[in-house]
């Protein structure tokens, strides 16, 4: 194979499952040292494409192409045996979920050694040395010790690095990475992307699959945007990001909240059914106003929560957290996984007892009173979760869920609240015919809209949103964020908004708390925290965030 020959040449690739076409007629090439990013939302066919290139499209799949050259070989009629000799040796594959990709019962060193043992000879000690070398190359500290650890003993970022080490163990010419950083925290994701960038500069060809344009922007040379099984736009990174031609690409770019001022619409207006006119009694924003002083609707003082690890050891989940949520405003809580955001939210919701400290709701005691005393006041506090589906009873229809919320639990018969249910549905932009559907048959965005409708049913003053858009595609995320913005302006709601995503927090919040390891390391107005971060950790978080697309 000569150096100028492409590592990957795909022409008119079609993949179908039982007559349903999921990828149709896509073509692309990847040359040595080049990185192509395949970007699309869930269901666009990008992962199936990646898997087809490795003969892993799965049972029931039907793959056809006029050309499918992988590492210089025509792979169209490959046997399982030929695929196996290709994988690992010529093509390295990096998956999103490193935890499930690594065998929990075997050491990381053994996992990487597998690839070496199956494809090349070399004595045991030579291979062991190579394993350590690889672990060092992917930036793991103390590689000797890491090699003897099991995947459960490593953090998410370390696992992803170990997986990358096993993918590059045989110096493959081509690396295919399917959402390699999606499951990782921002700072760790940034370092893994850097590592992939280094590999590319070392001469590997790379096919990078992601749902997020911003993530791939730092590494990719060219970008192909996929929608509904087709490539709708392709070009160099600059072309696609700076002068997108296809409306879908433009919508994707517009949907990214990074760098968009507060209350800017992220989604095209047409996708948004116009809500009914504002009702005057709901427009009062300053419920807490007294003699010109604005009182917080939700406030926390000195919150502490420890979880016992053993008889003598405690895990400090939340330590001395204070905040005030003002009426009609949004308080953003940002931090990486394990920073205590959700624990704080659960204490604010009165679902978790505080070890010390108090939460006050609308000026009255909240965390210190028994649940029976809270129950009557719960209607003023709603919650929206990351995974709305699991928060619904799977046996109930959308209208039954709303009827239950509207009647304060008295009935699930939708007839009693027909009018209010249709008002709620239109308020959150759901079509009336969704009423009879069960949550499991709704799309991710529709489920979150239903969850918001349920939370709004008792006419709350405060909504606690725990990663409400983290599981959603960018364009759906944009719609849900727009909806939350709009509801806040119309109903005068206050949000405690939790997210790991800095761009989302910046777009949504008036004030921000930055949390790390259970503590608030920085707080202030959104502008001051983002433009002049005082704490080192905030600065490192901001540096790790993918650049706002408009600045590339």
């Amino acid at each position: 194979m000569s150096a100028s020959e492409p590592l990957l040449r795909v022409k008119d690739l079609d993949v179908s499952f039982g007559g349903n076409s999921v990828v149709s007629g896509i073509s692309f090439t990847v040359n040595p040292g080049e990185c192509l990013a395949l970007v699309g939302e869930s269901g666009s066919g990008k992962s199936v494409t990646a898997r087809s290139l490795l003969g892993l499209a799965g049972p029931g799949s039907h793959v056809r192409a006029t050309a499918l050259d992988v590492a210089g070989k025509d792979a169209r009629n490959f046997s399982q045996r030929s695929w196996r000799s290709l994988r690992g040796k010529e093509v390295g594959f990096i998956l999103q979920d490193a935890l499930t990709s690594l065998d929990p019962l075997r050491t990381v060193g053994k996992e990487i050694d597998d690839a070496l043992r199956l494809h090349s000879s070399g004595s045991g000690s030579q291979r062991a040395a190579r394993v350590v070398e690889l672990l060092e190359a992917v930036g793991l500290d103390d590689p000797l010790r890491r090699a003897s650890q099991r995947s459960g003993e490593l953090s998410g970022g370390m696992r992803q690095r170990a997986l990358i080490a096993s993918a590059i163990a045989l110096d493959p010419l081509l690396i295919i990475a399917d959402e390699p950083t999606t499951a990782l925290d921002a700072t760790i994701a940034a370092s893994v992307m850097d590592l992939l960038g280094d590999l590319r500069r070392a001469g590997s060809g790379m096919l990078l699959i992601s749902h997020d344009l911003a993530t791939v922007a730092s590494v990719a040379d060219s970008i192909a945007v996929m929608a509904a099984g087709r490539i709708v736009e392709r070009g160099t990174r600059e072309q696609v990001l700076n002068s997108p031609q296809h409306p879908y690409t433009r919508a994707l770019l517009a949907a990214a909240p990074a760098g968009k001022p507060r209350f800017t619409k992220l989604s095209p207006a047409s996708t948004h059914p116009k809500p009914p006119p504002l009702q005057p009694e709901q427009a009062t924003v300053h419920q807490g106003e007294e003699d010109g002083v604005v009182l917080p609707v939700l406030s926390a003082r000195g919150l502490i929560k420890n979880f016992p690890l053993s008889k003598t050891e405690n895990f400090r989940a939340v330590h001395n957290v204070n905040f005030d949520l003002l009426p009609g405003q949004t308080l953003g809580v940002v931090g990486e996984s394990g920073s205590g955001k959700t624990t704080t939210a659960r204490m604010a919701l009165g679902l978790l007892r505080t070890d010390a400290g108090t939460v006050e709701l609308l000026g009255g005691p909240w965390s210190q009173v028994p649940e029976s005393a809270r129950r009557n006041r719960r209607s003023s506090l709603g919650a929206v979760y990351q995974d709305p589906l699991s928060s619904f009873d799977p046996r109930h229809s959308a209208e039954a869920i709303l009827a239950d919320a509207l009647s304060l639990g008295a009935t699930r018969n939708p007839r009693a609240h027909r009018q209010q249910i249709s008002e709620l549905l239109s308020l959150v932009g759901l079509a009336p015919d969704m009423a009879q559907r069960r949550p499991a048959t709704l799309s991710g965005g529709q489920r979150q809209r239903l969850a918001i409708a349920r939370a709004l049913a008792p006419k709350p003053k405060v909504l606690i949103c725990d990663e409400p858009v983290s599981a959603l595609d960018v364009s759906v995320q944009a719609q849900v964020l727009d909806l939350l913005d709009e509801l806040q302006q119309r109903l005068g709601l206050s949000y405690l908004f939790i997210s790991h995503d800095l761009a989302v927090i910046r777009h949504m919040s008036d004030h921000v708390l930055v949390m790390r390891a259970g503590e608030v390391v920085e707080s202030g107005t959104t502008e001051s925290v983002f433009t002049a971060p005082a704490h080192e950790y905030t600065r490192s978080l901001l540096a790790a965030a993918p650049p706002s697309l408009s600045s590339i």
Partner: protein
Amino acid sequence: MSTHLAKLPRLLAAALLLFFLLAAIAPNLLAPVDPLAIDPAAAFSAPGPGHLLGTDESGRDIYSRIIHGARSSLLIGAAATAIGLGLALVLGTLAGFGGRWLDFGVGRILEVLFALPGLLLALVFIALAGPGVTTTVIAVGLTWAPGYARMIRAQIIALRSSAMVEAATVLGRRRSRILLVHILPNALAPLAVLATLGLGQAILWAASLSFLGLGSPPPAPEWGTMLSAGRTYLSLAWWMTFFPGLAIVLVAAAATVLSRSMKAGGSR
């Protein structure tokens, strides 16, 4: 087509269960011959045109006895499963939702019940309460309760900390209402599958107890009793044991196959 082939066991099982259900509801439709009619002249007839599945030591028609025995076998199976589930529901809910001390107490009781082999437990109960159909049903139900109870408890504990229950709490629902509306129905759904599986097992158990002479008294057409009666003549008239045994196996197997396909369908 492979999909049709895959459906075949399910269809067969459903047809078999329907057949025995019909036998239980209207036995005379399928077997007009009186199951208790004695005909000494025709004793020990081999399966043939006159007696489809042969006759027993008194010349009673085996086919007719199996068909007429379906009712008591299915009833025993259903009733025992219902008793087992009912008892398990109470114990499981107490353990799963009643707080730490109740969980501890119920847990120890279940462990004691688990420690005894099921059949022994049933025998002890029958020894205390005296033999008979009702006692058999309760005894079999009793032996099944601990297993179901453990599963209900595990389901409830898993659901108790689910986002669904959290959401209901945030909406201000009472614990009792959350238990009734959200937890119990969702905890019981997977158990419905298990109960089908248990139905076949319970029939098997009831037959075992009847075989030991602790269930229905002899002249009544009951599968286990028939097995037991035929055992004496096994070398002379194999059909006396074989066909009632086959009926038990078929019902138990059909119930198992159906429950498995329900489970596969449910976990889609």
